[in-house]
C-alpha cells in the first residue's frame, strides 16, 4: 500500500509513532507529515482490507452496515465506500478480489426513547437523516424503529403473533415477606385476532408499541437492566435487518475503545460466556448471519478525527437516552457508564489499556454451544446449570430447612427425584425443588391449575439475562393466581418465538394446539412451583430500604 513506504530518516520516536499509527489504522504520513486525504484513505483501506481478509470468500456476499448515526459507524460507511473505490494501485491488485457484493446500510430509529414526552410525531426521527447519508453513497437503506421490536413482523418467522407476560411462582404477599427470588414463568398471549378475520388483523399502532416498550423498561428497576434489555432489542433488530436485506454479513462500527469497554462491561454483568461472540472481529454464532467488527483496531478518538477531517455528517441525537426513566438518584449510574468512565480514565493513565484489553479478548475461543438452545432474550449461548450454580453459592433457605439441602450432594439428588410430582422432567431448573417443595407455599394444587398455561422462562435464560432480570420489579408481575389482565408489561414476540422453539414447538400454532390439550406439553417445561431459588429480591428490599 502506498503508506507502507518507510521514511528513511525516521527517529526512533517517529518510528514508534509510525508503528502505532499503522497498528490503529492511521496513516503514518498523516501523523509525521501532513499529507493528502487520498493517502489517508489508502491507509484506512489497508485496515479495512486487513480486517476483511479474514472473511474473504469465493462468492462475494452482501453486507449490511449498521449505522447508528455516531462517528464510528459513520466512519464505517465511509470506509466501505473508500474500500470499494480504491486508489488504482490497490484496486488493480488482483490478489485482493472483491469481497462484498452489495453494500446495504441500516439504521434503528430510537427517537421514541429520547425524552419522556410520548410524542409520536416523527419530529425527532433520525430515519430520514440516516437514509440520506446512505443514499449519498448509493447504498440501499433499511430502517426500523426500536419500538418495532413489538411488531410480530420482526421475528424469524416474520409473523409471530404472540407476546408473553412474566408471572412469579409465589403469591405476591409471600414475595414481599420472604425477600426470596421466585422462579419466573412466562405466559404466552397470542395477539392474533381469534382466528376468524385474518385478513384485516389490526396492526399495532406505533403508539401502542412505544407504550409496550416503555412499560417493559419501566419495570426494570436499574439503568443497567434497561440498557442491557435495550441492547438485546437492538441486536435482534439488526440481525433481522441484515436477513431482510439478504445480507449474510452484518458489519458493526465498534471501535477498539468501544470493544474494550464492552469486554469489561460484559464481564461485570455476568456475560463472560457469550463475551467472545459479542466482541470478536468475526462471530459466526448467529445462524446465517456473520457479525464483523472491522473497526476493532481503531480508537474512537481516531474515528472522530476521521469523520471531522472528511467532513462526514453525523446524526446529533441518535442514541436512546434513558435518564428520564430513572426514578431515583441512585439509578443514574449503570454498569456500562461506570465501565466507560473506568476504561477511559485508565487509558489516560496507562495508554495501552484499550489495546491490551482487546488483545486479551481476541485470544478467547467462543464456547461450544448449540444455537438452537439460545437464550430467548439475548439470543446468546446458554450454559447448563446456571440456576443451580447460583443456588449453591447463595443460599436462601431458612435454617430449619437446612438438613435436606445441605447434607450432601447425593442425598440432594435423591430428594429431587422423590420430590417430583412437580418436576415434569430433568429440566435444569428443577433441581432446587428439594428445598422449594418443603415450603408451605408450594402446594400441589397450584400445579394443576397453572401448568397448562405457564411456560418456562428463568430456566431458559443465559446467566447474564437471569442476573439482569433480577432487576425487574416483581410487583409489576402477575403471580400464578392472578389473571393475565393484571399484567403490566409484555415480552416482545421475538422472545416468545424462542421460548416456543426451546419448548420443542415448530410454530405458535403447534404450541397452541398442543397446549390446548391441557397437559404440560414439553420436556423443557419447568415446574410452575419452582421458586425460591436465585435471589431476585433486591428491589423488594429496596422498597422498604430506608434504613441502610
Amino acid at each position: 500500500m502506498s503508506c507502507s513506504v518507510e521514511e528513511p530518516t525516521m527517529t526512533v520516536a517517529e518510528k514508534r509513532a509510525k508503528d502505532r499509527a499503522v497498528h490503529v489504522g492511521f496513516c503514518c504520513k498523516c501523523k509525521t507529515a501532513k499529507s493528502t486525504v487520498t493517502v489517508r484513505y489508502a491507509e484506512y483501506c489497508e485496515t479495512a482490507l486487513r480486517n476483511a481478509r479474514a472473511y474473504r470468500v469465493i462468492t462475494p456476499e452482501n453486507v449490511m452496515l449498521a449505522f447508528s448515526g455516531g462517528p464510528s459507524s459513520r466512519a464505517l460507511i465511509h470506509l466501505f465506500d473508500v474500500f470499494h473505490s480504491l486508489p488504482p494501485e490497490v484496486a488493480t491488485n488482483k490478489k485482493q478480489p472483491k469481497i462484498y457484493n452489495d453494500i446495504h446500510v441500516c439504521h434503528i430509529d430510537e427517537s421514541c426513547l429520547l425524552e419522556p414526552v410520548q410524542d409520536v410525531t416523527s419530529s425527532g426521527s433520525t430515519m430520514e437523516q440516516a437514509r440520506s447519508i446512505a443514499g449519498g453513497y448509493g447504498y440501499s437503506f433499511h430502517g426500523v424503529a426500536i419500538e418495532d421490536i413489538y411488531d410480530p413482523e420482526w421475528t424469524d418467522s416474520r409473523c409471530f403473533e404472540a407476546v408473553a407476560t412474566l408471572i412469579t411462582s409465589l403469591p405476591k404477599d409471600q414475595l414481599t415477606t420472604s425477600g426470596q427470588a421466585p422462579e419466573l414463568l412466562s405466559r404466552i398471549i397470542p395477539t392474533s385476532v381469534t382466528a376468524a378475520s385474518e385478513e384485516e388483523a389490526p396492526k399495532l399502532s406505533r403508539q401502542e408499541k412505544i407504550s409496550k416498550m416503555r412499560a417493559l423498561l419501566g419495570a426494570c428497576t436499574t439503568l443497567t437492566a434497561k440498557e442491557t434489555v435495550l441492547q438485546h432489542f437492538r441486536s435482534s433488530l439488526l440481525i433481522q435487518l441484515a436477513k431482510r436485506g439478504e445480507c449474510t454479513i452484518l458489519a458493526l462500527g465498534d471501535s477498539a475503545t468501544r470493544v474494550a469497554i464492552q469486554i469489561i462491561e460484559l464481564t461485570a454483568i455476568g456475560r463472560g460466556y457469550s463475551l467472545p461472540h459479542e466482541t470478536s472481529l468475526l462471530s459466526s454464532w448467529i445462524q446465517d448471519c456473520k457479525v464483523i467488527r472491522p473497526l476493532k483496531d481503531c480508537l474512537v478518538k481516531e474515528l472522530d478525527t476521521f469523520c471531522r477531517l472528511n467532513g462526514l455528517m453525523l446524526i446529533e441525537r441518535h442514541h436512546a437516552q434513558l435518564d428520564w426513566t430513572m426514578k431515583t438518584k441512585a439509578e443514574v449510574k449503570s454498569i456500562r457508564r461506570l465501565t466507560d468512565e473506568f476504561i477511559t480514565g485508565l487509558d489516560k493513565e496507562f495508554p495501552s489499556t484499550v489495546a491490551t484489553v482487546c488483545r486479551t479478548a481476541a485470544k478467547l475461543t467462543p464456547p461450544e454451544a448449540t444455537y438452537d438452545q439460545k437464550c430467548p432474550l439475548c439470543h446468546g449461548p446458554v450454559q447448563d446449570g446456571v440456576q443451580e450454580w447460583k443456588r449453591r453459592i447463595t443460599v436462601t433457605t431458612a435454617p430449619g430447612k437446612l438438613e435436606t439441602t445441605t447434607t450432601s450432594n447425593s442425598t440432594e439428588a435423591k430428594t429431587t427425584e422423590i420430590s417430583d410430582g412437580c418436576c415434569s422432567s430433568d429440566a435444569g431448573g428443577c433441581c432446587s425443588s428439594s428445598s422449594s417443595s418443603q415450603r408451605p407455599s408450594c402446594t400441589t394444587p397450584q400445579t394443576t391449575t397453572v401448568s397448562s398455561t405457564s411456560t418456562p422462562f428463568s430456566s431458559l435464560l443465559c446467566y447474564g439475562c437471569l442476573t439482569n432480570l433480577r432487576d425487574l420489579n416483581l410487583k409489576s408481575m402477575a403471580s400464578q393466581e392472578d389473571d393475565v389482565s393484571s399484567l403490566s408489561f409484555e415480552l416482545p414476540p421475538y422472545v416468545v418465538e424462542t421460548i416456543v422453539h426451546r419448548m420443542g414447538f415448530a410454530s405458535l400454532d403447534e404450541f397452541e394446539h398442543r397446549s390446548d390439550g391441557g397437559v404440560s406439553a414439553s420436556g423443557t417445561a419447568v415446574d410452575p412451583q419452582e421458586s425460591l431459588r436465585a435471589q431476585i429480591q433486591e428491589f423488594l428490599i429496596a422498597s422498604d430500604d430506608e434504613d441502610e
Partner: protein
C-alpha cells in the same frame, strides 16, 4: 406498634427476618439485600461455604489442613468457620494454623498476637515461620533497602513460598487461604486489563496446585491451596466477625498495593454499589472465560521445573524468590521486579559464583532455622552489616 414481644407472635412482626419470618431482622445481607436475623445470616453464610467445600470436593476425610492465618478478618473468620464446619459436618480434618511473620513492625507483630489468641480460643495448633528465618530479610529490612515502592512484589512472592515451606514443616496436604469473592473478582478484572490469559484461566479455580509436570518434584508441589471463601463477600465476612464477636486484627498491611490494582478495587466497589451481585457475576464470567482460554492459550504456560537453588517450583532456573533475593543481596533490588529478564541475564553472567544467599533449605528450616553450619559469603556491596544476618547456601548442596 406490633412487636416481637410475645413468644408466639400472632400479629405480624415489624420487619421480620425474610427467611424464618419469626424473628425481627437486624441486618441487610450484602450479597442479596435480604433482611435477616442473626441466626439466619449465620446459617446462610456457613452453608454457602459448606456447599463450596462439598461441591468442589476440597478435602478428603482425614486430611491434615493448614489454615493460612494472618490475624486479619478473612483468615480469622476462616479459622473459626473451618473449625465449626469440621465439627458440624464431620469433615474429619486435622486443622492447624500457619502464620507467616513478614517482619513488619506495628503490623505483623500485633496481628500475630491475634493469631496466638485464635490458637487458644479455637484450640488449633499454630506454626509461625518468618521471612527473616527463611530468607534472611524481614519486610522492614527490605523496605529499608528498596523504599516503599514495589515491596508488595517481595511480600507476595515470599509469602507464597513461605506458606509452602511452613506446610512442609507441618506435614500438611492442603492449605486453605482467606481469599474472598471480592479478591477473586478483582483478580479476574486485573487479568483481563493486563492481558494475562494464563492467569485469567487459573485465577478462578478454587483449588490450585502448581505441580510440575514431572512427579519427581519436591514436596511443595503436592500441597494444594484452596479458597473456601471463593463466593463469600468481604462485607459479609466483616459482618460475620462482628456478630460473632471474633477477635481479629483490623489494620491493613502498611505497605499498600500498587496503583493499578487500586483502580480495579475502586471500580469493583462502584460496580457492587450499582448491582450487588456484580461480584459473583464477575466470578461467573471469569469461570466462563477460563474455559474459553483453555482451548487456546493454556499451552503457552511454561513448563514447570524446580529452582536450582532452593528446590521450589519454577519455570526458570531460579525461582522468583531466589531471583528477588539475588537482587536484594547484590544491592540491586529493582532488578527482580517487573521484567525479570534483566536480572536473569545478570544471574547467568555472574554464574552465581559460590554462595549467594537463598531461602533456607527445607531441611534446615525444618530443623530450627539453625544458625549453625552456614558459610557466609559476602556478596552484598551496599550493606555489609545486613549481610551478617543472612542465612546462606544450605545443606541441600
Amino acid at each position: 406498634m406490633p412487636g416481637a414481644t410475645d413468644i408466639k407472635p400472632t400479629k405480624p412482626l415489624k420487619n421480620p427476618c425474610n427467611l424464618c419470618q419469626s424473628v425481627r431482622a437486624i441486618l441487610k445481607r450484602p450479597k442479596t439485600g435480604q433482611q435477616l436475623c442473626k441466626e439466619c445470616f449465620f446459617h446462610v453464610f456457613e452453608t454457602e461455604i459448606h456447599n463450596t467445600i462439598v461441591d468442589n470436593k476440597l478435602f478428603n476425610k482425614g486430611d491434615r489442613v493448614a489454615i493460612g492465618a494472618s490475624g486479619g478478618k478473612d483468615s480469622t473468620v476462616l479459622a473459626y468457620v473451618m473449625k465449626l464446619l469440621n465439627d458440624r459436618y464431620s469433615y474429619e480434618l486435622d486443622l492447624v494454623l500457619l502464620s507467616i511473620d513478614e517482619g513488619i513492625t506495628g503490623y505483623r507483630d500485633d496481628s500475630l498476637e491475634t493469631v496466638k489468641r485464635n490458637r487458644d480460643q479455637y484450640q488449633i495448633p499454630l506454626l509461625i515461620v518468618s521471612y527473616k528465618d527463611l530468607y534472611g530479610w524481614s519486610m522492614d529490612d527490605i523496605v529499608k533497602e528498596i523504599g516503599r515502592k514495589n515491596n508488595c512484589t517481595f511480600c507476595g512472592v515470599f509469602r507464597r513460598q513461605a506458606l509452602d515451606r511452613g506446610a512442609i514443616m507441618l506435614n500438611v496436604d492442603h492449605i486453605v487461604t482467606g481469599h474472598n469473592a471480592d479478591d477473586i473478582a478483582e483478580t479476574v478484572l486485573m487479568n483481563i486489563l493486563r492481558g494475562d490469559l494464563p492467569r485469567l484461566q487459573r485465577c478462578t479455580s478454587i483449588i490450585t496446585n502448581d505441580t510440575s509436570e514431572d512427579s519427581s518434584g519436591i514436596e511443595t508441589s503436592k500441597i494444594l491451596r484452596s479458597k473456601p471463601f471463593k463466593y463469600t463477600y468481604e462485607k459479609e465476612i466483616v459482618m460475620y466477625a462482628y456478630f460473632k464477636k471474633l477477635d481479629y486484627f483490623s489494620t491493613e498491611c502498611i505497605y499498600s498495593p500498587n496503583a493499578y490494582r487500586g483502580h480495579a478495587r475502586v471500580f469493583l466497589k462502584d460496580l457492587e454499589a450499582v448491582r450487588r451481585t456484580a461480584i459473583v457475576d464477575i466470578i461467573h464470567s471469569g469461570e466462563a472465560l477460563s474455559a474459553s482460554v483453555q482451548a487456546n492459550e493454556s499451552t503457552k504456560l511454561p513448563t514447570m521445573a524446580n529452582c536450582t537453588r532452593c528446590g521450589y517450583i519454577s519455570s526458570n532456573e531460579l525461582c522468583k524468590a531466589c531471583l528477588l533475593l539475588e537482587g536484594l543481596n547484590k544491592g540491586l533490588p529493582q532488578l527482580g521486579i517487573g521484567h525479570t529478564t534483566k536480572i536473569r541475564r545478570m544471574h547467568e553472567a555472574s554464574n552465581l559464583a559460590s554462595g549467594l544467599s537463598s531461602p533456607a533449605s527445607l531441611s534446615s528450616a525444618v530443623a530450627d532455622g539453625s544458625a549453625g553450619e552456614k558459610v557466609k559469603v559476602v556478596t552484598h556491596i551496599k550493606d555489609l552489616g545486613q549481610l551478617e544476618t543472612m542465612p546462606t547456601l544450605d545443606s541441600m548442596k
